[in-house]
Amino acid sequence: MAADTAAIAIPSSVVDAKRRNARDARADGLFRWIVAAAGMFVLLTLTGAALSMLWGGREAFSTFGFSFLWSTEWDAVNHKFGALVPIYGTLVTALISMLIAVPVSFGIALFLTEVAPNWMRQPVGAAIELLAGIPSIIYGMWGLFVFVPIMGEYINPWLNDHVGTWPVIGALFRGPPLGIGMLTAGIVLAIMVIPFISSVMREVFLTVPTRLKESAYALGSTTWEVVWDIVLPYTRSAVIGGVFLGLGRSLGETMAVTFVLGNAHRLSASLLEPGNSIAATIANEFTEADSDIYRSSLIALGFLLFIVTFIVLTFAKLMLNRLSKQEGAK
């Protein structure tokens, strides 16, 4: 009797297992498809957006050819357009913002994870995340009504008198004390991206195993040595991801920049002079773009923003790869 049931039970369990295997394989396949679709969705939207912008800008590209890239002309009356001024403004403001935001965010994240007393870490961390949620137009209005007068009244004249007299670099800091301009835009951008970069940095610094840090401390390291030799190498790729997030936001920011950049289509060496950025130009002029070539040029600008962002991020990635290779060879 017992042998009998066993004889029946074994094949039935084999059948069950087979059925289960088949079902698992099906579920696995389905799962793979769903996840792949989610991944493809990103690629599809990206190429779709880029291609539709290329298509919308085809008239501008075919009319102006490559000179669209380096012409400083932006004349809606005579239908002559060139993208150099907005491209330059976009790159310069993003560079200024990164020069300020990366070290400051690094400092904030370090302070919160290594130095600050425990009771302080949670509230300050929450405050930073709150800052990241403020809409950009608020930064723009704050920039225009609060920060611009300070720049115009105190900082620009001081820069003119003290830094403006230096050779070479001085040319960057000579100009009318308007308060608006590329430097102001860069600083406002820096304030906007600091919460992004620092909250990512803080998050990943917390993932460093305490064992590692404590070992280093036990060997007599200073806090700085622990951070530089243990925390940073351990979290490098995530930190870079955070910096890229901020850089991407800097390159594409629209409203805040429009408020404080001055929106003038002129190329000038001085950071105190007004300039223009790609996103600001599109936001300003799209509604009243009354000729086809005008609208097409603006869409072409949008496509160039894609390209510029892509090149900047690739370049940064390559540079960092090289750095880490050198590190490995050491």
Binding site: D75, A76, L144, L178, N263, P274, N284, T287, D290
Partner: protein
């Protein structure tokens, strides 16, 4: 009551014909275009809705957008601060008529300057905006402003960064009074500015002028008044210095040569007349001559007819100038002869 049933029946019939749904209320008039008239249109449509039950749904997407939308036939009327020439109107089968008048005024930020004190001539404004006059105590400015204490400071030019009808009227005026401006810069809703910084919208220009010492800008009168800015008087084509005001805007609208302008294709800057403000601006409505849905176009025209007759007071409250009587009767005659309803 009868007409509303009729329009509804037509609406249903059309919906069945072209196979679209959702035309539940035929008297829901849609429009799109210039931001300039948005405040007064929403006020008018609110009052009109209370009176007649007809709704005006206006999207202030800018003149360029308004022209594109009416040409695409997605709205019942479009609105533009820049008139289309008769040829373009003809090609698109559109009619055009003015809706309301406003004015652009130069404003300056000079310490101790009170509104209305400073004086400009047209060529002087053009030279400042060309970057030829760069100091406030320049002889050309000092000569016509003996009563104003002009500082030895640089002039910072402020202009609009976005395309705008305000800019169009401003540069149209500069083109009329300065051959050099016409040749070097020209006119349009946005131009290549030789000098200066750009503020977004009237409020952006007002904010920049208020903050940058020694700056000059141009805004619609309402913004100059609301922000208590030091606006200036400008010499008109009759050689008189006039202050920007309802009266001088109205004088410009009345003295402009509407009678001989086909499809009201006329920009009333530099208008003749002793009391005319030289930079008055008109907003225009665009509408189909042979509309697909005559009832909706008729409803739109009824609305404007009502606005001309009864909306004047509300317009003035918002610092707009209602159209003069002769002009509105000319417009109504134009509707009868040009638009098939």
């Amino acid at each position: 009551m009868f007409t509303s049933i009729k329009t509804r029946l037509i609406g249903v019939g059309l919906a069945a014909l072209i196979g679209t749904a959702g035309m539940a209320q035929a008297a829901d008039i849609t429009g799109a275009g210039a931001t300039f008239i948005y405040p007064i249109l929403s006020k008018w449509s609110d009052t009109y809705n209370n009176k007649t039950g007809n709704k005006i749904n206006y999207q202030s997407i800018g003149s360029g957008g308004g022209i594109a939308q009416i040409k695409a036939g997605t709205v019942d009327f479009g609105s533009s601060d820049k008139p289309l020439d008769p040829k373009e109107l003809d090609e698109a089968h559109l009619a055009q008529f003015p809706s309301v008048i406003g004015g652009v005024v130069p404003v300056a930020n000079i310490e101790g300057l009170t509104p209305g004190k400073l004086r400009f001539t047209g060529p002087l404004l053009a030279d400042i905006y060309l970057g030829k006059i760069t100091k406030w105590n320049d002889k050309a400015i000092a000569q016509i402003n003996p009563d104003v204490k002009l500082p030895d400071a640089n002039i910072t030019v402020v202009h609009r960064s976005d395309g705008s009808g305000t800019t169009f009227n401003w540069v149209n005026y500069l083109s009329k009074v300065s051959p050099e401006w016409k040749e070097k810069v020209g006119e349009g809703t946005s131009v290549q500015w030789p000098v200066g910084v750009g503020g977004k919208g009237n409020e952006g220009v007002a904010a920049y002028v208020n903050q940058i010492k020694g700056s000059i800008g141009y805004v619609e009168l309402a913004y100059a008044l609301q922000n208590k800015m030091a606006f200036a008087s400008v010499q008109n084509s009759a050689g008189k210095f006039v202050q920007p005001s309802m009266e001088s805007f109205q004088a410009a609208a009345a003295s402009a040569d509407w009678k001989n302008s086909k499809d009201f294709f006329l920009v009333i800057t530099n208008a003749p007349g002793e009391n005319s403000w030289p930079i008055a601006a008109t907003n225009f409505i665009l509408i189909y001559k042979q509309p697909k849905d005559a009832a909706r176009t008729k409803a739109a025209l009824d609305f404007f007819k009502w606005a001309y007759a009864e909306g004047g007071k509300q317009a003035e409250e918002l610092d707009y100038v209602p159209l003069p009587k002769e002009l509105t009767s000319q417009i109504e005659a134009y509707w009868k002869s040009e638009i098939k309803m």
